[in-house]
């Protein structure tokens, strides 16, 4: 009862309230409140993620799994960022500064230490470039995917590749010099593309709303680890 029915009831009631507040203005404050609750809960939930990450990597170290040495890199980077983040973001240094006489050796050390942590620099020069480079791998992958997969095997595949080639041509100045290409590109994007997107959007909307309803009603409950 406690384990099965109560969670389903909570889900149902929360769902109904949130659904109706959309139409009933006097209830909109509930929405604001719920947003904040959700934000707080997901902020706390990050601890679970952290625990999982640490567990996975300490496990690799313990089991001496293949490539386990790289787990040291992850764990070190993680601890460093958390500690450096707390020291820099939490005004620990500001307090230390206040405790030192201006111009004293103590203040010099505090300043040097704060600088040496490089919290923001690591974010900007480690995380950001790796992110951007991972993203840019797509330039290579989109070419290799097109080369490998775009074969006119079936009627549908042919349509796909012809549309792709025309639009590619129509997108760049060099291709636009071919008469008609730009116009056809615009037509493909504006007409069949819009129609297909609209059809998908409506379909997805129906699927989303229906799944949401099934969850509220407890018909779809696998997410609670319950099967019927």
């Amino acid at each position: 009862m406690m384990r099965r029915q109560v969670p389903l009831l909570i889900c149902f009631v929360a769902g109904i309230v949130m659904l109706s507040q959309n139409f009933i203005p006097p209830l909109t404050w509930i929405y604001q409140q719920a947003l904040e609750w959700a934000r707080i809960i997901s902020a706390i939930a990050l601890f679970i993620g952290l625990i999982s990450l640490v567990r996975v990597h300490t496990m690799k170290l313990k089991r001496k799994a293949p490539n386990y040495r790289y787990s040291y890199v992850t764990l070190f980077a993680l601890c460093y960022m958390i500690i450096a983040g707390f020291l820099t973001k939490y005004g620990v240094f500001v307090k230390l500064h206040a405790g030192c006489d201006p111009g004293s050796a103590g203040e010099w050390i505090v300043t040097a230490l704060e600088k040496a942590l490089n919290f923001q620099e690591i974010f900007l020069n480690v995380q950001i470039p790796i992110q951007a480079t991972m993203f840019s791998l797509l330039a290579f992958y989109i070419a290799s995917a097109a080369f490998r997969a775009f074969k006119a095997r079936t009627f549908e595949a042919t349509l796909l590749l012809i549309a792709a080639m025309i639009v590619m041509l129509g997108r760049v100045p060099l291709g636009q010099m071919i008469p008609g290409v730009k116009e056809i590109t615009v037509w493909i994007l504006d007409v069949p593309n819009t129609a297909a997107k609209r059809g998908i959007m409506i379909g997805v909307g129906l699927g989303m709303a229906s799944t949401s309803l099934k969850i509220m009603l407890g018909i779809e409950r696998t997410y609670l680890g319950m099967k019927d």
């Binding site: 609750w37 934000r39 809960i41 059809g199």
Partner: protein, 218 residues
């Protein structure tokens, strides 16, 4: 450029090249960069989450609840969050279900009306076009094509009837629209991806190579 900036540019360039080396094959440089970015990103998120999530939305309001008793309501999500943390306990992990159920209920209930409004009603409305009153015959043809395309795509998504006969024929027209649409999206996207590569190459050439040269030269 200062010496420190030059150092960080080299770090960024080294990591950029480490990631690109993955295109050849998996190697220690990539493994290092990969494990590094996982650690750094989680650490960063954790700090930001504490600083910009828990502090302003939980700790500060609760600390001020003496003046604003209304803030005490936030004890509820705190408790729910703590229940969620019981995941790690073998005995009490079922308690985290309350939290998940609430989050799901809020998410689903909130989602239904806007989904219906923006994805269904708005798009249905946009499909209602006056096919006669168009500036040209061509525009009229396009309008009819969009109409046919939208409806046939929608029919492709029919699940409870076998795609045979008229339904099958219409669904096939829908597939034609889908394929042309997907091809168009694919072709359209190439430019964005090449742009990203240009961006990284700009960094490597301008900031790293030329930057280093300028630093040494003067």
């Amino acid at each position: 450029m200062t010496g420190m900036e030059l150092f960080w540019t080299w770090v960024a360039a080294f990591l950029t090249l480490s990631i690109y080396s993955f295109l050849y094959k998996d190697n220690p440089f990539y493994k290092f960069a990969e494990h590094l970015v996982v650690g750094v990103s989680v650490g960063y998120i954790f700090t930001i989450n504490w600083h910009q999530g828990l502090h302003p939305y939980l700790f500060n309001p609760l600390a001020a609840s003496w003046e604003h008793p209304y803030n005490l309501l936030r004890v509820i999500p705190l408790i729910l969050g703590l229940l969620f943390l019981l995941r790690i306990s073998r005995k009490y992990n079922w308690l985290s279900r309350f939290t998940i159920a609430l989050v799901m209920g809020i998410g689903c209930g909130t989602a239904i009306p806007p989904t219906i409004e923006t994805r269904i009603i708005q798009q249905t409305k946009a499909s209602m076009i006056n096919i006669i009153d168009q500036p040209s015959l061509w525009a009229g043809f396009c309008a009819v094509t969009i109409l046919v395309g939208t409806i046939s795509t929608l029919i492709y998504f029919f699940f409870s009837k076998e795609h045979k006969g008229v339904l099958g024929g219409t669904a096939r027209v829908g597939i034609v629209f889908l394929m042309v649409g997907f091809g168009a999206s694919f072709g359209y996207t190439v430019m964005a991806r090449i742009s990203l590569l240009i961006g990284r190459l700009n960094f490597l050439i301008n900031d790293w190579v030329i930057g280093t040269w300028n630093f040494i030269a003067g």
